[in-house]
């Protein structure tokens, strides 16, 4: 059974312990979570959790059923048709070529967001694979620190 990348959305009641219930389902079975994002859904008591993981159809089917069984979980669905975005923040020494970096960022829906005496910080927001590409491309500018947000997704 081929292991494929999966994006799962889980709508949960926004309460303490719900995240550990969900993470526990994965860790207890020895499955890794590639990325996980959580944020409240506006004007509701719910939060949306977006999980990116790897697994075969059977494994994911079982995980989705088990997620459904958790009491504070309202809805679970695996995305088939979706828009995905991920953000990354990157810190460069201010001595690197500002204009080159700014141009690269722009190509990936980003820009320089902060400059201090020693460092500048830029952000990009794109589909995860393009964020990967961006991070490869900026290696030669000696990034000091990289922070990725994890994926958010929406069904088309």
């Amino acid at each position: 059974m081929p292991e494929e990348r999966r994006v799962i959305s889980v709508i949960v009641i926004n309460e303490a312990s719900v995240l550990s219930r969900i993470a526990g389902l994965f860790s207890g079975r020895g499955y890794n979570i590639d990325s996980l994002t959580v944020a409240p859904i506006p004007e509701s008591k719910y939060s949306r959790i977006t999980i990116v993981t790897q697994g075969s159809v059977l494994v994911i089917e079982q995980i989705i059923k088990q997620l459904h069984k958790l009491i504070p979980v309202l809805k679970v669905y695996e995305h088939a048709n979706l828009v995905e975005k991920e953000m990354a923040l990157v810190k460069f020494p201010v001595t690197e070529c500002l204009s080159d970096i700014a141009a690269l960022c722009a190509a990936y829906n980003g820009k320089i967001v902060n400059v201090s005496e020693d460092f500048m910080i830029c952000n990009v927001a794109d589909i995860p694979q393009r964020v990967d590409n961006f991070l490869k491309a900026i290696k030669r500018f000696h990034p000091k620190e990289i922070v990725r947000s994890g994926v958010v997704a929406m069904e088309i």
């Binding site: 009641i13 059923k65 088990q66 459904h68 069984k69």
Partner: protein, 564 residues
């Protein structure tokens, strides 16, 4: 009404019609125990170990169908209870377990007797709560009982810090509960049910695979009606023993690792399987790819996660077994000819004639199977049977003539040694009119032997029948068969004097080596109605047979074992 969190616990339990709580006090739960002292709405049974308190509540719940309630303190009190929680979770037993916790201000400081209880109980409960405000307590307890007893039942753990039990708030117990995110499907899909009935009608070799969900759903009457009407051969899992009754002519026997040859062969030959409240446990299926591989599968279960988890179901029906089977009955009456499967029934009967479930009795030494059969002959329907885990458990499941649901209480999923005696105490508390027999082994009984004190104190006369072979028998059997007889750490020749042991707690002990002695001991213990240990010396190297070696196929059974 302005009352403390501790009082709220009492009032809530009374509102839920709880008649007995099994527990053990300690520092963090003292506020609640103080209120227990002052009330007379329910009885508190003081176990002598927290694990036993949970098992007793499990036994009570399994025997009565009610929610079992247990109470323990923080830290070690809670960690001792974890085995019980896991056991109840694996066997889907409705339970509410309340534990004390250190005060909110001390949580996370490595306080005395502090442990992250909800962190530990999360994977072994259906749901759990850490109560951070007494205002939430009535709602949480209402939810706990509701969640424990609906859908696929299971244990719910409520952890209450000591300052929350001291906090004074307005108390109103909610009358009903609605959880937006928890709505078990109880009614089966009508179209799926029709399709399933048609599939049964088309089949020529159908088989019912009956599981413990039938007992949980109180659906044995309905299932029996369906089975009798259709005349379809049926097998029971370990957890379903007692569903059809031993004298039902459609019942083949138990299936699985130590199931009968006929049950396992019929399953292997069937062209349609109707799984009801069963979950395809590995001890049932053996090698999955070979399990009932000629059969299309109808699977009825309240838990969607159980369906197509291990074996793909051709006709999945999510719903409460009782509801679904009730809807199947009139359709089956219309569309299924009960005479149709005569030839298949004959095949099944021939399997049974070829290798019936049996054992070689002896005049020289007591056979454990004889002891189980004899209890059945002497007490039959009058006894409830609990067991521990191991060879004795399998012999009890194979040879006791079960006649009704909830007569048989055993630790199936988790396989917890030490379960039987405390569970039998809970069973006796729930069903005082039946004789409570715990069939146990010389290994298992020592794992909760301190409960002799509980049984004696509360006059809950459990009769423990120890099938004593001076071995950790089931492990010894595997070592004999699969590890070249290297009996590593399974020789239990060092033993206490069980007669004196029972006496020292105020119970009665019997030493039994012959059939006559066994009859006399059992009759005496039943008559005197006391807590008893009957130490029965049985054949030391008896094996549980037949057997499907772990990972083997059901149709490839070891029918006898010849010592090399």
């Amino acid at each position: 009404m302005q009352i403390s969190g501790a009082q709220m616990v009492i009032e809530s339990l009374i509102a839920e019609n709880v008649e007995v709580v099994f527990g053990y006090p300690g520092g963090a739960i003292m506020n609640v125990y103080d209120e227990i002292y002052k009330q007379n709405g329910f009885q508190h049974v003081l176990a002598r170990h927290e694990q036993a308190a949970i098992h007793a509540a499990e036994g009570y719940s399994k025997a009565t169908g009610r929610v079992g309630v247990a109470m323990i303190t923080s830290g070690p009190g809670f960690t001792n209870a974890v085995t019980g929680l896991a056991d109840a979770y694996m066997d889907s037993i409705p339970m509410v377990v309340i534990s004390g916790q250190v005060p909110m201000s001390l949580i996370g400081t490595d306080a005395f007797q502090e442990i992250d209880a909800v962190g530990i109980s999360r994977p072994c409960t259906k749901h759990n709560y850490l109560v951070t405000d007494a205002k939430d307590l009535p709602r949480i307890l209402k939810e706990a009982f509701y969640i424990a007893s609906t859908g696929r039942p299971g244990p719910v753990h409520v952890d209450i810090p000591k300052d929350v039990t001291a906090q004074i708030e307005e108390f109103v117990y909610p009358e009903s509960i609605e959880l937006e995110t928890y709505k078990p499907t109880v009614k089966g899909n009508a179209r799926q049910i029709k399709k399933a009935i048609d599939a049964i009608g088309e089949a020529s070799r159908p088989i019912f695979y009956l599981g413990g969900g039938i007992i949980n759903s109180n659906a044995a009457d309905e299932v029996r009606e369906l089975v009798n009407m259709t005349n379809i051969p049926s097998v029971e899992t370990l957890m379903a023993r007692g569903t059809l009754g031993a004298d039902n002519e459609n019942l083949i026997s138990m299936l699985g690792m130590h199931g009968s040859y006929a049950a396992n062969m019929s399953m292997s030959e069937a062209d349609l399987m109707i799984a009801i409240g069963a979950r395809f446990d590995d001890r049932v299926t053996g090698k999955l790819s070979e399990f009932a591989k000629h059969a299309r599968i109808i699977h009825i279960d309240i838990d969607p996660a159980s369906i197509s988890k291990l074996v793909n179901a051709d006709f999945p029906i999510v719903g409460d077994v009782k509801n679904v089977v009730k809807e199947m009955i009139p359709l089956a009456k219309e569309r299924i000819d009960g005479q149709k499967y005569a030839q298949w029934r004959e095949t099944v009967a021939n399997f049974d004639k070829l290798h019936p479930l049996s054992y070689q009795d002896s005049d020289e030494v007591l056979k454990p199977q004889w002891v189980v059969e004899r209890i059945g002959q002497l007490l039959g329907d009058d006894a409830n049977i609990t067991t521990d885990v191991g060879q004795h458990q399998m012999w009890a499941a194979q040879f006791y003539p079960f006649s009704r649901p909830r007569q048989w209480i055993t630790s199936g999923g988790l396989g917890t040694m030490g379960f039987g005696f405390p569970a039998a105490i809970g069973v006796k508390r729930g069903c005082p009119d039946k004789v409570s027999i715990n069939v146990t082994g010389d290994g298992s009984i020592l794992m909760n032997i301190q409960e002799l004190m509980t049984a004696v104190e509360y006059k809950l006369p459990v009769i423990n029948v120890i099938l004593n072979n001076n071995y950790l028998g089931m492990v010894r059997q595997w070592q004999t068969m699969f590890y070249d007889k290297r009996h590593s750490q399974t020789d239990l020749s060092m033993q206490p004097d069980f007669v004196m042991l029972a006496q020292s707690f105020g119970g009665l002990g019997y030493r039994v080596k012959t059939k006559e002695e066994f009859d006399a001991a059992l009759k005496d213990a039943v008559e005197k109605n006391v807590v008893a240990l009957i130490d029965v010396t049985v054949n030391r190297l008896e094996n549980v047979l037949p057997m499907v070696p772990s990972g083997g196929s059901l149709f490839n059974m070891m029918l006898e074992y010849k010592d090399k």
